[in-house]
């Protein structure tokens, strides 16, 4: 399809990544042309079409089975219903704050297809009866793109503001987003209340990822049956897969939910041989061992396999990746990037990072590994947000999926993980438009 300006830093080097739809997929979210899509181009695709009446739109959303693309895969229709149940005027918060270092999809959408995102916001405003929407993000290029789109086509009947924060891992969590828009720090709050109860300005707020919202124009215009032509019964539609790590062509790909991982790697990433494992859902859903290549990319099958699709970022571990080193690097990241609010989280991530660093260096013993195993089991659910759950996923999955590699690090180092620790393993970055090469 197209070459893009995304660069990957998975191995400390910069390389051009692809943006493409999977074979046989007519893209709904990506587009063939390079560069930013302006209003006339978006209108030519049928964008900003007159929306169905509200009851038809609500029925379409319910029947579509659309699930949130930000990480939790929560049924969109249930969020809409919860916000609609309130008696006060709700707010829509389009969440484009992409904290996962291994993901680029939200930035790509806002930079390249801002009108698709804003068309989704328009439909979400209609769905919940809002009079105001906020586009929440951290990427400056995305902010410029969204503002430009709002100048190209001013909204009618509601208002839209843009709120930019500094990029952090936890800034995109839904209560952090609400807190930031309300004037506080972009850090999570404990629940209850959740934003659908008390959100922006104290009003019930529909917080939805920008990719989720970007699915609405297609659904509204083409209907449920066509929306469901891709995907599985439980996870209909396509999603944006950020594929990185040990592949020849890392990139952003539009893929049907339910696609076998092996097919995605072979057809899109360019197979570099054996899949030693995967890091799932950005940094959130932990590691999967070689059995990963038998799994399919959808929420339910990955959940049953003890993992998750999360935000749709999958990093492939190859023969030159030591899973212990990857886990140590990612856990160190959690140790640095957690909000520093909940004691269980800042202590737990630091403790697990310490054990993993020792394991990587060959100085951990079985007692340390048992402590790690126990923390992986007892710490989930002990934080105000899911950061600690992600860290526990990582610890637990390393021990379950790579027992031989863990055993091999007791008292010694391995041949593969001799390199320097990486601050953000498998991180993807997008260059500003102006620096395109």
């Amino acid at each position: 399809m197209t070459e893009s300006t995304i660069t990957g830093a998975a191995h400390g080097t910069s390389k051009l990544l692809r943006v493409a739809a999977a074979p046989g997929i007519v893209p709904r979210l990506l587009r063939e042309q390079t560069g930013r899509e302006d209003l006339s181009e978006y209108l030519a695709t049928g964008g900003y079409a007159p929306s169905p009446d509200l009851s038809a739109l609500l029925q379409a959303v319910e029947a579509s089975g659309l699930r949130g693309r930000g990480g939790a895969a929560f049924p969109f229709t249930r969020k809409v219903a919860a916000v609609r149940a309130s008696r006060t005027a709700p707010v829509v918060l389009a969440n484009g704050e992409e904290g996962e270092p291994a993901s680029v999809k939200d930035r790509w959408l806002m930079r390249t297809r801002p009108h698709l995102v804003l068309d989704g916001v328009r439909l979400a405003v209609q769905l919940v009866g809002a009079s105001h929407a906020v586009v929440y993000l951290s990427d400056e290029e995305s902010e410029r793109s969204i503002w430009q789109a709002l100048e190209e086509r001013p909204v009618d009947g509601y208002s839209v503001s843009v709120h930019r924060v500094e990029p952090t891992y936890i800034a995109g969590e839904e209560t952090a987003a609400v807190r930031a828009v309300n004037g506080g720090p972009a850090k999570p709050t404990d629940k209850p209340p959740r934003p659908f109860e008390v959100g922006v300005g104290g009003q019930p707020t529909l917080v939805s990822n920008v990719e989720t919202l970007a699915n609405l124009p297609f659904l509204a215009a083409r209907g449920v049956d066509e929306f469901r032509t891709y995907g599985t019964d439980g996870a209909p539609g396509t999603f944006l897969l950020t594929l990185g790590g040990a592949v020849t062509t890392p990139g952003l790909y539009e893929v049907a939910l339910g696609t076998p991982l092996r097919d995605a790697v072979d057809q899109l990433g360019g197979n570099r041989g054996v899949i030693a494992g995967t890091l799932m859902g950005g940094y959130f859903a932990g590691l999967i061992g070689p059995r990963a290549e038998q799994l399919t990319l959808d929420y339910d099958s990955l959940s049953q396999a003890g993992s998750g699709l999360g935000c749709g970022a999958v990093s492939i571990l190859g023969g030159d990746h030591c899973p212990v080193a990857v886990a140590a690097d990612v856990m160190a990241y959690f140790g640095r990037e957690n909000a520093g609010q909940c004691g269980s989280c800042f202590n737990g991530t630091a403790a697990m990072a310490g054990v993993l660093a020792s394991l990587r260096e060959g100085s951990a013993d079985r007692t340390d590994v048992e402590r790690l195993r126990r923390w992986g089991e007892v710490l989930p659910g002990r934080g105000a947000c899911a950061t600690l759950d992600g860290a526990a996923n990582l610890a637990r999955s390393l021990l379950l999926e790579f027992p031989d590699q863990v055993e091999g690090h007791l008292g010694t180092t391995c041949d593969v993980c001799g390199g320097a620790p990486q601050l953000k393993p498998f991180a993807m970055t997008m260059e500003p438009e102006g620096s395109r090469r």
């Binding site: 850090k187 209850p192 269980s344 202590n347 737990g348 403790a351 002990r382």
Partner: protein, 64 residues
């Protein structure tokens, strides 16, 4: 009675688990989480209220 424990406020004093161990569990570093439901049985209200009163950082509140 329903309660809320704000983990972002908890400072690990552990008084809650001392007074109402069925409702508050501490991690390895002494920080609390709710042990189960946030619904307090009438028979336990007294001990949970004691936990609320003695929390030095006011991390526990009564919702309703």
């Amino acid at each position: 009675m329903r309660i809320k424990l704000d983990r972002t406020v908890c400072d690990g004093f552990g008084r809650c688990a001392l007074h109402a161990p069925d409702y508050f569990s501490l991690d390895d570093w002494g920080y609390a989480s709710l042990a189960g439901s946030n619904e307090v049985a009438p028979a336990d209200e007294s001990s949970v209220r004691r936990a609320i009163i003695e929390c030095p950082v006011h991390a526990i509140v009564v919702l309703d």
